[in-house]
């Protein structure tokens, strides 16, 4: 008891010692600590997003003849019929009868490169994303262009097929699965609203509005890397930071988590490519 009141007295004295300008500061700091901390930075940045180059590059890859078959990807069926690109991104992940599995847009593109162009899937899957020092990959460019082809459209992943619904259910289980030396799951950082890691705002991926904004802004130009990154990369890098082993490109876990996010985001709007730190 004694101890407690001493502490209270110390605290009281301490507060009384604070000069007036300091109190003003106390009012300013919480404001800075809020979401608006980078508003000034963002205002000065404007909206000139270097991803605009990557969109063009993706479109050029789409119409470029490649592989042993020397054909373009223009006959690729992204779910809306052969060659239909407008709005296709917004409906992924989805079930495809020709492969009898749920696919995200990245694995679907690899499927088209393999089946239409005759290219070796393994070679592309071995390095889908840029490494340090690279200036973008074909897959990153294609995904960026296709996301731009869905800009302004409603996020509407298919959930009609049982395999699509099973994928969602699995994604939800994985989202909360804790493992590794740090006991981290996706939920560790992404099941609460209004939280930050360091100064980065963390989207609550279990909440519709926030997951829609987050999911709809990928792929995104990452200023820290000078590259456009895709959702598939985003998941790989999350698991690296979760101290988990390496997430395999196009794996069930990757597609399940994308399904979980896309369905939670359904009804939101595609704004990609985003501009992120």
């Amino acid at each position: 008891m004694r101890r407690q009141s001493d502490d209270a007295m110390t605290l009281y004295r301490f507060v009384m010692m604070i000069p007036r300008w300091w109190l003003l500061l106390l009012m300013v700091v919480p404001a800075l600590a809020d979401e608006g901390i980078f508003d000034q930075y963002r205002d000065l940045m404007g909206d000139d997003n270097p991803a605009i180059f990557v969109i063009d590059e993706g479109e050029e890859f789409w119409v470029q003849s490649q592989g042993p078959s020397a054909v373009t990807l223009e006959a690729c069926d992204l779910g809306l019929g052969a060659g239909v690109t407008r709005g296709a991104y917004a409906q992924f992940p989805r079930y495809f009868a020709d492969t009898d599995r749920v696919m995200d847009i990245e694995t679907r593109l690899l499927y088209c490169m393999e089946t239409l162009q005759g290219r070796d899937r393994e070679v592309i899957a071995a390095k889908p994303y840029s490494l340090r020092g690279d200036f973008g990959t074909e897959l990153e460019a294609l995904v960026t262009w296709l996301a731009a082809e869905s800009e302004g459209m409603t996020i509407a992943p298919e959930q009609a097929h049982p395999k699509e619904r099973a994928m969602y259910a699995m994604g939800e289980e994985i989202f909360f699965y804790r493992a590794g030396p740090h006991d981290f799951s996706c939920a560790t950082c992404h099941e609460q609203s209004n939280k930050r890691i360091r100064l980065q705002q963390l989207p609550n991926l279990t909440e519709h509005t926030e997951v829609a904004e987050a999911y709809g802004s990928w792929p995104a130009y990452r200023m820290s890397q000078g590259l456009v990154r895709t959702m598939g990369w985003r998941l790989q890098d999350c698991f690296r930071q979760q101290r988990w082993p390496g997430l395999i490109f196009g794996s069930e876990v990757s597609i399940a988590l994308q399904t979980y996010m896309a369905v939670n985001a359904a009804g939101g709007v595609m704004t990609a490519p985003g501009l992120k730190r």
Binding site: D48, P50, I52, F53, L131, R132, G133, F135, M223, G226
Partner: protein
Amino acid sequence: MAGRIKIRAQKKGELTEVKALMRHPMETGMRKDQAGESIPAHFITEVAVLHGDQTVMQAHWGAAVSANPFLGVRFQGGQSGDAVRVVWTDNQGGTGEGETTIR
């Protein structure tokens, strides 16, 4: 392949506002790649903004300008329909050029 440039040029009262994005890695020469090998310096050294055949601004850059550089400048006397060009050269002999008309 010569580098790409995206340019907007807009009349704002007496002034013409030019905003340009350039496609370039702007490597400092101090980074290492995933395999631990040094990534050679590769950055734009000279940039010029031209209104018609008049140079309105010429810049000398170091590697500290960010990747995929952004440049905004304003000059007097532009008219709608006039050509605005941005050209650059880099330390490896690469070049880039973009052109638009004032709106």
